[in-house]
Every structure is written in structure tokens, then in C-alpha cells.
């Protein structure tokens, strides 16, 4: 299996595993799921370094989502829940 296929297979497996694990724990906050998804994506990206035919818009979208989640969390801490 080449690097690209291995990346996609690992990503799919880890996404399924993380969603199952968090739902088993009863997690109901969507931002937790998105954060873990972003973490999984970037870790796989760093390990496998797959080639990309286009601009990596999933990475960009996940990064922006993660940044927004962190910003909202910081704001809620600074200005009170």
C-alpha cells in the first residue's frame, strides 16, 4: 500500500475510532469532536506526508475551525461563562 492510500485508510480508521470513543464517553459537545478530528488529521498529515493534487482545503477548514473553537473558549474564560 503506498503512502497516500495508507494515509487515507489510517485517517478513516482514526476518525471512526475517535467518534466512537467520544460518543461512548457520552460527550455531547461538538467542538470536542471537531478538535479531536483536527488533531487526528494533522497528526496523520505529519506522519505520512501524503501528496496533494490541489490545495489542502480540509486542512485549512479544520485549522480555522480549531482556531475558532480555541478563540471562543478563551473568550468565555476571559469574560466569564
Amino acid at each position: 500500500m503506498d503512502r497516500n492510500a495508507l494515509f487515507n485508510a489510517t485517517l478513516a480508521s482514526l476518525v471512526a475510532a475517535s467518534v466512537w470513543a467520544l460518543s461512548s464517553l457520552g460527550e455531547a459537545r461538538l467542538d470536542v469532536y471537531v478538535s479531536v478530528l483536527a488533531l487526528v488529521y494533522f497528526v496523520c498529515l505529519a506522519i505520512f506526508r501524503p501528496s496533494r493534487g490541489f490545495f489542502d482545503f480540509p486542512a485549512a477548514a479544520l485549522f480555522l475551525a480549531f482556531a475558532a473553537i480555541v478563540a471562543m473558549r478563551v473568550i468565555s474564560i476571559l469574560y466569564g461563562a
Binding site: 487515507n8 467518534v19 455531547a28 461538538l30 471537531v34 478530528l37 501528496s51 493534487g53 490545495f55 480540509p58
Partner: protein, 258 residues
């Protein structure tokens, strides 16, 4: 001939069915969030969309890298025969597509087209030894062309059609890595050091045994010659394999920019 390569560029566009998977994931996420009001299902939908998008932007590779390597090695056998028949023995000049102009103007301008190598026929053609000035124009008229009173054998080197002027964005190391490591797999990794008028390329664990004797003198080994093609295309300047050093598990190639 370069236009033919565009017909096969669809292989770089990724898997179209994955776009359907991404759309399904997005739909599942929206359905789960607004109708089912289930956070885990929404997250699963987002995950499926991300995986689908990732597969969609992953370029497919219809030709395995091992096959590409064998094709490149095979092309050297033909070049060896042509070099022997014409008596071309000098160091070749890797000229980017549509290059005009020669020494004295700081480099050649490049237009569209593949990189070609001009191998001097009869007598040493090593520009580094100062044996002669570069031609004022790099015009190829057939297999053997005469430029400024000197005959040159004009060839398309291995890897010439694997690069294109449109794809020459990004730094040199990533371009070399993409061609030498990912597409053809002829080396394990690449490291580049640029030094003004020359480029030093460190090739780790070269996997090809092709390119010796006359071919190596004229074009360099398969790895060195392919690296020179990328350098010439990326820098849009005439390049030459100045030296090639075989170390224990790597090869160090110095490519001069003329």
C-alpha cells in the same frame, strides 16, 4: 509531444467518487444536526466529509514508481546507443524549453517545452574547462544541430517530460523530491543546497544502477541527469552536471547554472 502529456493529467486530479463521499458526509452532518439533533452522528458526518475530501484531493498514480524507474532506465539504453554512434562525448548542456540566448546574458530565457540536452560532438565540451563559449542561441534543428560552428547532439533526457514549466512552483528541494522520490522512486530522499551559480544535490540511497560510461560522461547518471532536468526547468537556465560523487549510501551531484 509535450501537449500529449496534458491528455493524461487527469491522473493528478484525484478520485471523483470521493467527492460523493464528502457530499454524503456533509449531508449526514446537516441531517444529524438539524433533524436528529445528535452530536455524535453530526461529528461522524463531518469526519466522513473530511475523509472524502482528503481522498478527493489525493492524486491517483496510474503508473507505479517502479515502472517509471524502469522506463527511465530503459531510455538511457537508447541514448547510449545514439551517443556511441555519433561520437558525442562532451558534457551535455541541459537547456530549458524554448531557451534563447547563451553565455554572457546571465542565463537563457525559457519558454514552453521540454528540457533538452545538447551534447557536443567531437572534442571536449566541458564549459567548466573554458574550452569554448556557449552558443549565442540554443536552436535545435534535428538530431544534430550546428551552433556557432560546433556540432551538438540534441536529445530529450530521461525525465524531460516528467517536468513541465507550469508545475515549476515551489522550492527546488520539494520539486526534486516530488520527481526523484515520489514519482520515480529512484532515490530515497533529496537534499539541496543552492550556491549562486551552482546547485549541490545530495541524493540518499539511489536505487537505479543505470547511467555509466559514455552516458555518465555526457548526461550524468540517471539520478544526476534527472536532477539536472528539474534544476534547468525550475531555474529556467542552462544547467550542466559539473561533478558527481558516489559516497557510501548517497550520491552528491553538483549542477552548474550557466
Amino acid at each position: 509531444m509535450p501537449e500529449m502529456a496534458d491528455l493524461y493529467s487527469d491522473s493528478e486530479k484525484g478520485n471523483p467518487y470521493a467527492a460523493g463521499l464528502a457530499a454524503f458526509g456533509a449531508g449526514l452532518a446537516a441531517f444529524s444536526w438539524y433533524l436528529l439533533q445528535s452530536t455524535p452522528m453530526t461529528a461522524l458526518g463531518i469526519g466522513v466529509a473530511v475523509v472524502g475530501a482528503s481522498i478527493a484531493i489525493t492524486p491517483t498514480a496510474p503508473v507505479p514508481s517502479k515502472a517509471v524507474r524502469k522506463l527511465l532506465e530503459g531510455s538511457l539504453a537508447n541514448i547510449e546507443a545514439v551517443l556511441e554512434d555519433t561520437g558525442a562525448a562532451g558534457r551535455g548542456y541541459y537547456v530549458p524549453g524554448g531557451a534563447v540566448g547563451g553565455s554572457g546574458d546571465g542565463g537563457a530565457e525559457a519558454g514552453p517545452g521540454a528540457v533538452r540536452v545538447f551534447v557536443p560532438i567531437g572534442g571536449g565540451g566541458d564549459a567548466g574547462s573554458g574550452s569554448g563559449a556557449l552558443p549565442s542561441r540554443w536552436e535545435a534543428k534535428g538530431l544534430v544541430t550546428s551552433l556557432d560552428g560546433r556540432d551538438y547532439l540534441v536529445l530529450y533526457p530521461p525525465g524531460s517530460f516528467l517536468v513541465s514549466n507550469e508545475g515549476m512552483s515551489g522550492d527546488l528541494e520539494s520539486l526534486l523530491g516530488e520527481l526523484l522520490v515520489e514519482e520515480s522512486g529512484i532515490v530515497e530522499s533529496v537534499k539541496v543546497v543552492e550556491d549562486g551559480q551552482s546547485v549541490v544535490v545530495d541524493l540518499k540511497r539511489p536505487r537505479s544502477g543505470a547511467g555509466y560510461g559514455r552516458v555518465r560522461r555526457a548526461l550524468g547518471s540517471l539520478e544526476a541527469g534527472t536532477a539536472a532536468v528539474v534544476v534547468a526547468a525550475a531555474k529556467k537556465r542552462v544547467a550542466m552536471v559539473a561533478s558527481e560523487e558516489d559516497l557510501s549510501d548517497r550520491k552528491r551531484v553538483v549542477i552548474d547554472l550557466l
